[in-house]
Symmetry: C2
Subunit: 359 residues, 2 copies
């Protein structure tokens, strides 16, 4: 791991997060990237530490966190599971990238243990909700995008200004307690079923490193409204791999996503909402057309009805002690592959119920 503060002699890299550097903008990002590439290509000895000797922290102090729902296959699968007698997609889904705000304060770095959340859930056949540990604890394999340069209140970010604002991408695991979520989510959306933890990978892959991964979207019909139209390709040919206790269970393809991250940012700000350095917006679960490409266990096991075999065991949702690791790679320049590192987490047992009155 290269010590950029020592290599470049700049204090901005000695800070606990990248926020200061990210705020400096795309020209500066390009200059620093070129300088690092030059040094590494020169074969010089660079200041640094073995990866095994460092503790990785959140790369960015998260400002606001928004999670989208941009995979047509994921949204359709969830629709079929939850509303089997209705059209799988809601009427708005192909007109706008549906999304909602998550809890920025519980975004944690890869490797952070995840305590099984407790909460209210109403189980099938029960008359009233009960309180207890989630029995349908799930993952969502996603890509997230980190805003470097913010925008002022009242001024939308144009869809083609994406790379002027966004520095790069991280892997995201949006842990989800499906039983808590199912009971709470009408009419204002997911809250406690998601807010206990969202894990991200410890480094940010710059958009500049993903030039060879840029591809057209699969296609949008109906044609989006003008503020979402662009001639620039921001589909991304990123291959994710989801491992459950060391066994690969899914390979979600980012190339299958319906909405691009440039459209997500344009939509998120079209009402005049500002964005800030450190904002994280994520794609939502990435699921491809093939059953083995589904990025959530809810879909992979079809609501728990079709268990998968993990190390010889029949499994549906997460048990205590389970570890999930998501990795990803994309085409780099000159036939190389760009790695995204990983986002990993292990489930710890639920804590005992909250204390009663303390005084």
């Amino acid at each position: 791991m290269v010590d950029l503060a020592a290599l470049l002699g700049e204090d901005v890299f000695a800070a606990p997060t990248l926020n200061g550097f990210l705020a400096q903008g795309p020209r500066r990002w390009a200059r620093v990237r070129a300088r690092i590439q030059q040094v590494l290509a020169g074969g010089e000895t660079v200041p640094g530490y073995p990866l095994a000797d460092v503790t990785l922290h959140l790369p960015v102090e998260i400002a606001d966190y928004v999670d989208f729902y941009a995979s047509e296959h994921h949204a359709s699968n969830v629709g079929r599971l939850l509303r089997p007698d209705a059209p799988p997609l809601m009427p708005n889904w192909k007109h706008l990238p549906v999304g909602y705000h998550g809890r920025a304060g519980t975004v944690v770095v890869s490797g952070t243990d995840i305590v099984r959340p407790s909460g209210q859930r109403k189980l099938p056949g029960d008359d009233a909700p009960t309180f207890g540990p989630s029995v349908r604890l799930d993952i969502e394999a996603e890509l997230g995008f980190i805003v470097g340069v913010g925008s002022p209140l009242g001024e939308p970010v144009a869809v083609d200004a994406f790379a002027d604002h966004v520095f790069g991408a991280v892997l995201v695991n949006d842990w989800s307690a499906r039983d808590i979520q199912a009971w709470e989510y009408v009419p204002l959306g997911p809250h406690l079923g998601k807010s206990f933890a969202t894990s991200i990978s410890p480094w940010v892959v710059p958009l500049a490193a993903l030039e060879a991964a840029r591809i057209p979207l699969p296609g949008q019909d109906p044609r989006p409204l003008p503020y979402l139209r662009t001639a620039l390709d921001w589909g991304l040919d990123v291959d994710l791999v989801v491992s459950w206790n060391g066994q690969v269970v899914a390979r979600p393809p980012y190339r299958s996503m319906y909405w691009s991250p440039a459209q997500m940012l344009a939509h998120m700000t079209v009402n005049g909402a500002s964005c800030r350095t450190g904002d994280l917006f994520a794609s939502g679960t990435i699921s491809g057309p093939d059953p083995a490409q589904r990025g959530a266990f809810l879909e992979l096991t079809w609501g728990g009805a079709e268990p998968v075999t993990v190390n010889g065991q029949s499994r549906t949702f997460l048990r205590d002690g389970d570890e999930v690791v998501i990795t990803a790679s994309a085409p780099g320049s000159h036939g190389t592959r760009i790695g995204f590192g990983e986002v990993a987490g292990t489930i710890l047992p639920a804590r005992s119920a909250p204390r009663g009155p303390t005084r």
Copy 2:
């Protein structure tokens, strides 16, 4: 306006926000309050500035922002308006304080002008959504609560530990574009219909100043699950007043709220979600049983069908140039009244549509 940095000689009050002081906790809050009361009671000349000479800023750097939906009258009115053929309250509503995350980065201080948001909305009779300025721009009169002392990830805040964590209350106007919201909100909740701006009053009323305003809740049936039960009264006898272009149009009574702020915080963290200094959680629209007590124009005009008369004009939603001011007061000690200041905002015309491709 007293200059606390000069009065108390402490750097923490010279900071741009109160976050540093709020993190110091309830004993410290009590000592500082006692010291200020002592000085003011002594009739000494205190360092300060005329209110007319100061520019008020956000009192707190907002960490996460959650908005609840805790008024039974509001939730029932909205249910009747949007789902006239179904029970007005969703099945979960009396079991948990329903809430969702809002955009922390667009919380602004009272007096900030509000640019009318544009976005997608599908008007009655239209086959497809169109893009344009909101034609149903509304307010939501609320109280918000500011967290001083945070809590660690994985450890719920007990319902009776409310005052160990929360410093005080602000007035909130959760501006809402009802047409944008109605089209976007299924299934993940409100997003662009709310995220363009949320205004708060420029000072925080400490919980310690609201002791005389504490009252029992109106009553909860069914009895909540144990983690939401408390013998402490955190109903609040706060009277709000909503003025539209100088004319009082509603007097929402906080005492009519179904869920208490202590229950909101306990619920928000029961899944192990941490909270942080600067977290803001708001009550949702405050509406009482009487039509003149409704804290949103959606309810006050019954979805636009029953206009109100403002300065002789028949009005439903907000026009450009309109100003809304929300004030509030509560019983103080020895028969006095505690003022909450105000949260004010004026509507500016929508900006032109976002630029097309820039390169």
